[in-house]
Amino acid sequence: MFPLIRLFPQDSKIDFLGLRRITLALSLVLILGSVGMFFSRGLNLGIDFKGGLLFDLRFSEAISIDAVKDDLSALGYGTPEVQAFGSDRDAKVVFATPSAPTEDEEIAQVSAIKQAVRALYPPKLDGEDLELAQAAATEGNVEFVNGSVEYRRVENVGSKISGELAQKGALATALALLAIAAYIWFRFEWQFAIAALLALTHDVITTIGLFAVFQFTFDLPTVAAILTIAGYSINDTVVVFDRAREEMRRYNERPVIDVLNIALNRTLSRTLMTSLTTLLALLALFAFGPLVIRDFTIALMWGVVIGTYSSLFFATPLLVVMGLSARAFDKKIVDDDEDDYAAQLAAAVTQIDDDEIRARVRTDDGEERPVEAEMILPEDPENDGPVQGGRRRTRKTKKKRPLGRK
């Protein structure tokens, strides 16, 4: 078959944790920057959260945005935001919610704006609307004249409901983060749960920061995107943490930084593969998908990037900061029998033996022999030389690693 392309190294030895001061500082800057942008620049809230009246109009011929803006401003309901949306025949118009003393008056105002806009740009009826209008016209012997402006989308969110939507969105996000952290706590040690929660918060805050910087429209789909980002990011983090825990049980004698580095390196090609396939899919959605969800797609793409970054450079370093030590896992193996130190030791030895003797090779004379397969670790000077003879890195010289090696 065709040759396989290996985009990512099989056996990388990147010292992720060595960079932890830099990356944690970078994350802190990102978070502070996001918070700063949020408060200084603010979010470009969509009508979902701000209230207002939105029209997506498609005219029968090319229009000038300024002319449309002038026409609409002349209606006397304030100056709407008008922007090109797709082709030169399309315009997106947003009227702010009229400030009215009571909700009733606000609703009346909104419906007045709607009628005024419809009168200015007579709607082109379509589908059932058209059938109904035509049927009525025929019955009444009146000539039916269809308008020429296609009302592709009309949305109106009252100021009260927009407040509710914002509240619900914030609540959903907070609950999702807590629920995910609770699950991690249930499945892992507490340090992992806290690191995961902080990493999620990091991803959410920086996404909000991105929206503040570029002033993308922040609306309901954005909240959905943020929760999805949370889901994606935790997915990534869990894979790394799972591996970290596994390696800690295996190498419970080594410094935690080394073990975490092993875990990150061993999961690196998976992490990058998955991020890349997801990004590819999202790129297709960005390039070919509907215009209406473009900002949503941008948020998701950012989420994949920041989610991947945070599992490698934020969540895992946090474990070190919180003083997670591989020794904790030494004890965990024999949790049930804590009194008997000898049993603990024996269990630990068996555990290591199991792991190491699992691998077998068939020698030339057809006999199976156990071999020790071991990842070459950065701080192990003995093995640091170049690897020879193919990619399988097994050593036939069986060297038992002493349990108490420092």
Binding site: F2, L4, I5, L7, E103, D104, G127, D129, L132, A136, E139, G140, N141, Y151, R152, R153, V154, E155, N156, V157, G158, I161, L165, L171, A172, A176, A179, Y183, L220, V223, A224, T228, G231, Y232, I234, D236, V239, D242, R266, R270, T274, L276, T277, T278, L279, L280, A281, L282, A284, L285, A287, F288, G289, P290, F296, V361, R362, A373, R392, R393
Partner: protein, 522 residues
């Protein structure tokens, strides 16, 4: 030794076939509706009728959240107390004067004894109302319990009226649901404007006591339009009518309605037996006077009464346009809304935009698939191909599952599917990377595969469950389109776990059995 148990291909095969079976109806045209609103399906016999529901943002339509004005309902309860209460008390011979406000009714009696007697009589009629007395004055307010009942009845009645109206206009497949205590969610596919169906039309017929009058705060003064001409010349003042507070006939007694275009355009309606009797009485007693036909506080027409009308057939002319008359007749025929409704959230998508969204969404989905398929094939070779089979099957299963549960596919839902395409391979990537590691450690192909799956399983489970948690919260808190996104995301995770863990494993095991390779091609 075989890597495959006999039941594994059977089980996986059955699930895949079921997925195909449930997904297949979506290949056929969507159900249409004929003039009588009867569904016409195009799905042939061996398949079930389940197709994926398209959300309003994809098929076009109107989504409207309205609030029922409960203050209005309260006021109307107070008017009932005033009207029924005064009639009952008058029948019992208790003299009084009653003044209603929006929140209570004050009954003024001759003395305290009369008041106490009247209170008992009223208590029988309105047992849940609030009674406070002060000397000869009795104030009746609406109690919490009464308000609760009024609230429920009003919202239900408003919902039913809206449904009758939408049906009367011949719109297909509306969904009208009560949400919370005073909200109604109205979703109508295929139309862009339902404003006119939400109008509260109140029609009543009164006796005119004075035309062109000036305002007297104690009387009901309706201004408007000179006889049968709703178009005013510039500068012309509308005529004002002073009319009697008590109506002869009230809109709830209207039965059949229609439009008559023979001599000018007129809305016609017939009254039920009570209305006919009231109308006959009223016209008999007021020959030579004028009637005011009042719609929403405007006098539409004020004809002279020449003789008693006993037939209960009424015609209103008011300079209507034909369409206007037609709409008015239909709305009157479906009854008045029990309270006013206010539109608090509206999302309307035209059919053009919806169709475009489906098209571009489908293209994006296919391109995403293509990219991921090629990428996987080049990264993992034969195993990548197997993962690709799983990815395609995953989409079929997802579509089948969405159809089976009648889930609604929304625009963000399409994004959810595209995202699933990207993320679905994750489980396989995890497994394959593990298998590679095991193989590098010197295990034979069979053990590498088993080891890879074993080691990756709990990771996959943890990783997916956390995403499901986020998705469930989205479904719980989101509305409409967002829920659609959460649903496709959750279902996509479930189907991708099936295809990644069971289907690809089966394919790999079958391959191992067939070729007994000494080395993995990856």
């Amino acid at each position: 030794m075989s890597y495959t148990r006999w039941w594994q291909p059977v089980l996986v095969g059955l699930v895949v076939l079921a997925g195909l079976y449930f997904a297949a109806p979506n290949l056929f045209p969507r159900t249409t509706y004929d003039e009588n609103n009867q569904p016409q399906s195009y799905v042939p016999a061996p398949f079930m009728q389940f197709q994926v529901n398209l959300g309003l943002d994809l098929q076009g339509g109107s989504y409207r959240l309205v609030r029922v004005d409960l203050d209005d309902a309260k006021a109307s309860y107070m008017r009932d107390v005033q009207r029924i209460g005064s009639n009952t008390l008058r029948d019992q011979g208790v003299a009084l004067r009653a003044i209603a406000s929006d929140t209570n009714v004050r009954f003024q009696f001759r003395d305290e004894t009369a008041m106490l007697g009247a209170r008992e009589i009223l208590r029988e009629q309105f047992p849940t109302a609030n009674y406070t007395d002060e000397g000869a004055v009795l104030t009746v307010g609406i109690g919490d319990e009464a308000f609760e009942v009024v609230k429920q009845e009003t919202v239900q009645s408003v919902r039913d009226t809206i449904e009758r109206r939408i049906d009367a206009f011949g719109l297909t497949e509306p969904s009208i649901r009560i949400q919370g205590e005073d909200r109604i969610l109205i979703e109508v596919p295929g139309v862009s404007n339902i404003d006119e169906y939400l109008e509260k039309l109140e029609l009543s017929i009164h006796i005119v006591s004075q035309a062109g009058a000036t305002r007297n705060p104690n009387e009901t003064l309706f201004m408007l339009l000179p006889d049968s001409d709703r178009v005013l010349a510039p500068g012309e003042q509308p005529t004002q009518y002073l009319i009697e507070r008590q109506e002869c006939v009230n809109g709830s007694d209207i039965q059949g309605t229609g439009v008559d275009a023979e001599r000018g355009i007129a809305v016609t309606f017939t009254l039920n037996s009570r209305g006919t009797k009231d109308f006959a009485n009223c016209t008999r007693n007021n020959i030579g006077e004028r009637l005011a036909i009042v719609l929403d506080g405007e006098v539409i027409s004020a004809p002279n009464v020449n003789e008693a009308i006993n037939t209960g057939a009424v015609q209103i002319t008011g300079g209507f346009e034909f369409n206007e008359a037609k709409t008015l007749a239909t709305l009157l025929g479906t009854g008045s809304l029990a309270a006013e409704v206010e539109s608090i959230e509206e999302r309307v998508v035209g059919p053009g935009l919806g169709a475009e969204s489906i098209r571009s969404g489908a293209i994006a989905c296919l391109v995403a698939m293509g990219l991921v398929l090629v990428f996987m094939a080049f990264s993992y070779g034969l195993f990548g191909m197997m993962a690709n089979v799983a990815l395609v099957v995953n989409l079929v299963l997802l579509l089948g599952l969405l159809s089976l549960f009648g889930a609604t596919l929304t625009l963000p839902g399409i994004a959810g599917i595209v995202l699933t395409v990207g993320m679905a391979v994750d489980a396989n990537v995890l497994v394959f990377e593990r298998v590679r590691e095991e193989a590098r450690a010197g295990l034979d192909p069979g053990d590498s595969v088993a080891g890879g799956y074993g080691a990756a399983f709990s990771t996959i489970l943890d990783a997916n469950l956390t995403t499901v948690i986020a998705a469930i919260l989205l479904a719980a808190f989101g509305t409409g389109p967002i829920q659609g996104f959460a649903i496709t995301l959750t279902m996509g995770i479930l189907t991708s776990m099936f295809t990644a863990l069971l289907l690809t494993r089966l394919l790999i095991n079958l391959w191992l059995d067939a070729f007994r390779p000494s080395k993995l091609p990856m």
